[in-house]
């Protein structure tokens, strides 16, 4: 439904439509769809969208890559495309060349810290790392005595405690026990863990908003087919009002996520205004996911609660993505502290800064 205004996103949409159709995946049940999908994505250079061309990437702009993530959300994509893109982006901050295979990033939780030892090895634990199990490499942000560093690490060198998110996609604990990275460079000035969390939050916000768009579509479509009490349920005012609320939550998520993405794409530094955009997007998209998923299931009745129906592919991922790169509770506290520190009279100038 969103017009793709760039060729990168159009390519992604076409691949998703051909190889990541929710109905086909849901009926397949065996994961056989993943290999041809990933192959097609790699051939199109999408996983390395944010890696500059001179680092063997595709050199797409941030805006182009964000549009890919929106599309990935609309398809509730369950392969590590967003994660590989984020990893490539993180490595590119330190001009580390990205390998061309599946990657993820650590830490993915704002409270986890990975430490850079004096000998250049890494130690620490990162929880809730999406798609770590099965990925080949992990881009790591670490704190050393001399500041923040970015490293490329082979997953094989880490200990992985496998876990699953709400939608049964991998969400693992990665333990780095004095691991020697494949590449290690200092992060640029001003780049810290908060920057990684904010970027991850924007990525997840776009995916959640995309999933909500699909929930709305699937729900509207279903209400126009399902007959109850001798009428299409779309003709009942109560159902209409529920779908109107779902459209409202979807709109809020879309507006918040696309605004934050736009702010990132044009940002010159990680300032308070950018923080507001990213944190607000993650908070509002998570709230929309909660309300939206409830409405979508309500409209579908019991059928939407079954494994056979595709609805759960969207609702469970939208709900699961709330937890990555800072939950809405985390960002709300951080944003609240920022507002409190700046003081009451600075609240409106902050909100009205764009």
């Amino acid at each position: 439904m969103t017009e793709s205004d760039n060729i990168v996103a159009e390519t992604a949409e076409r691949i998703f439509a051909d190889l990541a159709d929710a109905q086909t995946i849901n009926s397949g049940k065996d994961g056989a769809w993943k290999a041809p999908l990933w192959y097609a994505l790699e051939q199109a250079g999408l996983p390395l969208s944010w890696v500059p061309e001179d680092c063997d990437g595709s050199g797409a702009s941030l805006a182009e890559g964000f549009a890919v993530l929106s599309a990935a959300g609309r398809f509730a994509l369950a392969v590590p495309l967003a994660e590989t893109m984020l990893a490539g982006w993180l490595l590119a901050q330190a001009r580390i060349a990205a390998p061309s295979d599946t990657m993820t990033v650590a830490p993915a939780h704002p409270k986890d810290r990975i430490t850079l030892n004096a000998d250049g090895s890494l130690v620490g634990r990162a929880r809730g790392v999406p798609f770590a199990k099965g990925a080949r490499h992990i881009a790591v942000l670490a704190h050393g005595a001399d500041g923040v560093a970015i490293a490329l690490v082979a997953i094989a060198a880490c200990r992985i405690e496998p876990g699953l998110n709400l939608a049964d996609d991998p969400s693992d604990t990665v333990i780095l026990n004095n691991v020697t990275p494949l590449a290690l460079k200092p992060a640029p000035a001003g780049f810290d863990q908060n920057a990684l969390m904010l970027m991850g939050a924007v990525a997840r916000s776009l995916q959640i908003a995309g999933a909500l768009e699909s929930m709305l579509d699937v729900s509207v479509g279903y209400s126009n087919e399902r007959v109850a009490f001798e009428k299409k349920i779309s003709k009942f005012q109560a159902v209409q009002h529920n779908l109107a609320k779902l459209a409202g939550e979807t709109s809020a998520a879309l507006a918040a996520a696309s605004s934050a993405a736009d702010a990132f794409a044009h940002a010159e530094s990680f300032d308070d205004a950018l923080f507001l955009e990213a944190a607000a997007a993650k908070i509002r998209c998570a709230e929309a996911a909660e309300k939206g998923a409830a409405i979508a299931h309500q409209v579908h009745g019991a059928i939407g609660f079954t494994q056979e129906h595709i609805l759960h592919r969207f609702t469970l991922r939208a709900l699961a993505w709330r937890d990555d790169f800072g939950s809405e509770s985390h960002w709300a506290v951080e944003l609240g502290k920022l507002v409190a520190t700046r003081g009451a009279d600075e609240l409106w100038p902050l909100v009205a800064s764009r």
């Binding site: 439904m1 459209a247 879309l254 507006a255 918040a256 696309s258 509002r284 609240g336 502290k337």
Partner: protein, 386 residues
């Protein structure tokens, strides 16, 4: 894909930032001069004719209208900035706001040239106050049910009946109203309504105040007894006001005034909680600010659509639905979050003063300008459900 919802991330252009600083400086001067108290949203002095003229002198009325009618040919985004700064400062905008937002654009579109030349420049100078006659006793949001009649007479129409919930009718110079010129047809319930410009000084008009539970007085019942309206005061097509009135509502439904009416209690909450709020207070502020920011970005996006000449009826309805529910819930959330602040603290005083008023104001916010239920009907239509 069924729904085409778009909220593009419009960025306000640099001239808006310059303008914003000008408006802030102007409001600071007015506050210093004692024109209004930004901490007193419940003031009784909201009808401020001199303030209205000074806003006109600055060129902030009729901002988007053609210069030939006294307008300034500036963008909807610039107008947006002026509106939100006035609203956040609790400036007394009652006298000019309706004319600037709605009535002027209606006249621009539908009034004959000599009326435009007469009235629009006066609106731009801040000299004219408008009210809008839509709701009637026993009809409310159901405009199809409007019964007040405009009957053909020599050289014009005679109006008989009444309008209700008419904001500012007691200070208004004009009203733009819809009246029934013929009965609805079986095929088209929307048929038979016509829009008119009514001079409030016309003989036969009686304005009866309706006091609100806040203690304020904004709404009125307006009774028409054989009120003469000349032919050239008919706006647009006879029997065809439905489409005119609904496109007008896109202006009424998406602006910053649709989520900022109780904003002042959020500022005062931040003040009351201080620089080191506990975790509950911090999270509460964070969520409210995230919601506010999102709504504002949606509203700016709709302003961008208006600027691009679109008619974002569904998007505007969504902004009003979410926005008014937010500004309605805000005083209650603020009350909860302020519960653990020492009631004797000095930074609590303004909040204590404002919160009861905000809570009393809240129930009306989801009614004015189209109820939540009506808006959701419009959104459902946009989704292809009706």
């Amino acid at each position: 894909m069924t729904a085409a919802l778009r909220f593009d991330p419009i960025r306000l252009p640099p001239e808006c930032e310059v303008l914003r600083q000008e408006v802030r400086a102007f409001l600071a001067e007015e506050i210093a001069a004692g024109t209004f108290d930004p901490h007193k949203p419940q003031r009784e002095d909201s009808d401020a004719p001199e303030f209205s003229r000074r806003v006109g002198e600055r060129g902030w009325l009729g901002m988007t209208w053609p210069k030939q009618y006294g307008g300034h040919e500036r963008s909807f985004l610039e107008r947006y900035v002026v509106t939100e700064e006035m609203r956040v400062a609790n400036a007394p905008t009652r006298r000019f706001f309706v004319a600037d937002r709605q009535s002027g654009p209606v006249l621009l579109k539908y009034a004959p040239e000599h009326i435009k030349m007469d009235i629009l420049p006066r609106i731009c100078r801040g000299e004219v106050c408008f009210s809008i006659g839509m709701s009637e006793p026993n009809s409310g949001s159901d405009l199809f049910a409007a019964k007040t009649k405009a009957t053909r007479t020599d050289g014009g129409f005679l109006i008989n009946g009444s309008k209700i919930w008419t904001t500012s009718a007691h200070i208004a110079d004009y009203m733009i109203a819809i009246f029934r010129t013929s009965p609805p047809t079986k095929e088209n319930r929307r048929h038979g309504l016509t829009q008119f410009l009514v001079d409030m000084k016309s003989p036969g008009i009686k304005v009866n105040p309706i006091a609100q539970i806040t203690g304020q007085y904004e709404f009125n019942e307006v009774v028409f007894e054989d009120v003469f309206v000349p032919d050239d005061h008919m706006l647009g097509e006879i029997d065809g006001a439905w489409k005119q009135a609904t496109s007008e509502l896109a202006y009424e439904r998406s602006g910053p005034e649709r989520f900022l009416e109780t904003y002042y209690v959020l500022t005062e909450l931040v003040r009351a909680l201080g620089p080191n709020p506990d975790i509950r207070g911090a999270e509460g502020i964070g969520r409210l600010v995230a919601q506010l920011h999102t709504m504002r970005r949606m509203s700016v996006s709709v302003a961008g659509m208006l600027q691009a000449g679109k008619e974002p009826v569904v998007e505007a309805s969504i902004v009003k639905d979410i926005g008014t529910i937010w500004e309605q819930q805000l005083p209650h959330r603020v009350r909860e979050l302020a519960a653990f602040v020492d009631p004797d603290a000095s930074n609590h005083a303004t909040l204590d003063d404002q919160l009861p008023f905000a809570i009393k104001t809240a129930p009306k916010l989801t009614i004015q300008g189209g109820t939540t239920e009506v808006l959701r009907g419009i959104i459902a239509r946009g989704l292809g459900l009706r």
